[in-house]
């Protein structure tokens, strides 16, 4: 077995070999159980200790940003579903906000509330999936299925709301496709109540579990400075102590009306990223309860136009907080039916870039933990 490679592969700072033991390279992915899709991590290892990681992306690149240039603005919404498919309501909202800004479309009060409710439900749903996958990456398969079980209840709600379970395509410029179905609000409140007890159960099953704590505490530390320089956002940045949440700092929609906290971590290790997400679920429940209480009657969509056009040379920009971080949309128009260029800024790209900072120096198993706490969605990186 020839494990030694003499030349340095692209991206590595040092060749394997040297030191008192021979280092070697290992390909994690593109087909690997813990890379959450087709991500390829090339790892330089000394025994089991990770020395350096070079992520390779682009294995499911579908050129969505290029496709966007040949589709009308409305048609583009269903493409944003396919970016971060676990928080597709939020990505839909990002594009809708940009269109509303450029084409000067107003949103009725009720639609704003519906958007908040749906987005926060989706945040819980996405974090539940992350919770399950995190536990599975650490070897606890039962927690994975518990997470999916709870997620299923929210997915069922979405199915009744917009007819789809994953690629929602629910928001439109000026509101939503349809109004909330009957008995929707009581059911959401019921799920909120249920989630509160469930989250306590999760604490007992996973958060307080000694093995989980041993595996996550002090592992994969991302310092505040490194997190900033990598452009990390969302729970990853907040776990490193960066108090940045688009919902608080640049509130879109009507987020400024709600009372919620932004959970912050102190050290930026895996356990902080874990607790930040768990706490975010609790905060989402808080927002949901307020939004459900205040939901006004009225239209769910302002007057529909067959085509939304952004005036020539108008640039519109929007930022939303997805379950993973800051998702920004930048639309440049040439006045035509289709946008001249759409640029999406996805949170996962920055997070994957920071993985070398987080995981090198730890064991191979810790790389899996770090990757699990980053919660990457690879299609979001490979646009």
């Amino acid at each position: 077995m020839d494990l030694v490679q003499t030349e340095i592969p692209e991206g590595f700072t040092r060749s394997a070999g040297g030191g008192h033991t021979e280092e070697y390279y290992l390909n994690m992915g593109p087909q690997h159980p813990s890379t959450h899709g087709v991500l390829r991590l090339m790892v330089r290892l000394d025994g089991e200790t990770v020395k350096e990681i070079v992520p390779h992306i682009g294995y499911i690149h579908r050129s969505i940003e290029k496709m966007a240039e040949s589709q009308s603005l409305i048609q583009n919404i269903h493409l944003t579903d396919r970016l971060d498919y676990l928080s597709c309501h939020m990505t839909n909202l990002g594009l809708c906000l940009a269109i509303e800004q450029g084409a000067d479309v107003g949103v009725p009060e009720r639609a704003e509330y519906i958007r908040i409710i749906v987005c926060e439900l989706q945040r819980i749903q996405s974090h539940l999936l992350w919770w399950g996958c995190f536990a599975m990456d650490l070897g606890a398969l039962t927690a994975f299925l518990y997470g999916f079980d709870e997620r299923e209840k929210i997915t069922d709600l979405f199915e009744e709301l917009c007819g789809a379970r994953l690629t929602m395509n629910y928001f439109r410029p000026g509101g939503c496709v349809s109004d909330l179905p009957n008995e929707f609000i009581p059911r959401i409140l019921k799920i909120c109540e249920h989630m509160k007890t469930t989250l306590d159960e999760y604490d007992n099953l996973v958060s307080k579990n000694m093995i989980i704590r041993e595996r996550t505490q002090g592992v994969g530390i991302l310092s505040k400075e490194r997190a900033l320089s990598h452009g990390c956002t969302g729970p990853v940045a907040r776990a490193s102590g960066i108090n940045y949440d688009v919902r608080k700092d640049e509130p879109y929609g009507i987020y400024n009306r709600f009372d919620f906290d932004v959970p912050l971590g102190a050290t930026g290790d895996c356990y902080d990223r874990y607790t930040v997400r768990i706490e975010e679920m609790r905060q989402s429940i808080r927002i949901l309860e307020q939004a459900c209480k205040d939901l006004p009657d009225g239209d769910f969509r302002s007057k529909e136009k067959p085509n939304y056009k952004i005036p020539k040379d108008e640039h519109s920009f929007s930022s939303v907080e997805t379950a993973r971080g800051n998702f920004s949309t930048y639309v440049v128009s040439d006045g035509g039916k289709t946008p001249y260029r759409i640029k999406y800024r996805s949170p996962n790209f920055s997070h994957i870039g920071a993985i070398n900072d987080m995981a090198s120096g730890y064991k191979l198993a810790d790389l899996v933990t770090v990757l699990a706490t980053l919660d990457p969605v690879i299609p979001d990186i490979d646009r």
Binding site: M1, D2, L3, H20, T21, G47, E48, T49, K363
Partner: protein, 186 residues
């Protein structure tokens, strides 16, 4: 155990296994294969001990030599990048010294027991119980093995300390000393 046709067959089977595996262990070029052959050889020896009603010695053979020594040899092969595939050619000098050594051992064996009865089993022998071994091992009189036992323990301890020192000594060049417990696995 009484000498029967069964024991004769078993004796020749074990002997053939020992000789075959032993030959394989020294001739096979792949070091891992040779370690596996050594394992077969040791198993055969354990079988011979069983035929002689030395259950304890047979089991210790398996426990210490196969479960311990051979596994560590295999472990070393696994940890070393090229040992499995890079064939080490033996020089003529090595061949000569090897054959000479074998001849000397054979001569010694013949010298020690020229009047050996050469039966496969020892009919007079009763099975050794573990209490007997224990008493014998901890007996301080001339009949006992207390002093050799203690000497071996000290020797093993010093070997362990030495190994730990050597392992420690090489470390300064290495980068991470925090999780050294895992180092044994890597």
């Amino acid at each position: 155990m009484e000498a029967t046709l069964t024991t004769d067959i078993l004796f020749y089977l074990f002997s053939a296994a020992i000789l075959g595996c032993g030959l394989m262990a020294v001739t096979v070029k792949n070091l891992l294969h040779s370690a596996i052959a050594l394992m077969g050889c040791l198993f055969g020896t354990a079988g011979l001990f069983l035929l002689l009603d030395h259950e304890f010695v047979a089991l210790m053979q398996i426990l210490v030599y196969i479960g311990g020594v051979v596994i560590f040899i295999i472990y070393a092969v696994l940890l070393t990048t090229h040992l499995g595939t890079r064939y080490l050619p033996a020089s003529t000098l090595k061949y000569i010294s090897g054959v000479t050594l074998a001849a000397i051992v054979l001569g010694l064996v013949l010298h020690i027991d020229p009047q050996a009865t050469h039966t496969a089993v020892n009919p007079d022998r009763t099975a050794t119980t573990i209490d007997a071994i224990g008493y014998r091992l901890l007996d301080g009189s001339t009949n006992g093995f207390l002093i050799p036992f203690e000497v071996i323990s000290v020797l093993l301890l010093s070997a362990m300390i030495g190994a730990a020192t050597i392992a420690k000594h090489q470390k300064p060049g290495a980068t991470n000393d925090e999780d050294e417990t895992g180092g044994s696995a890597s």
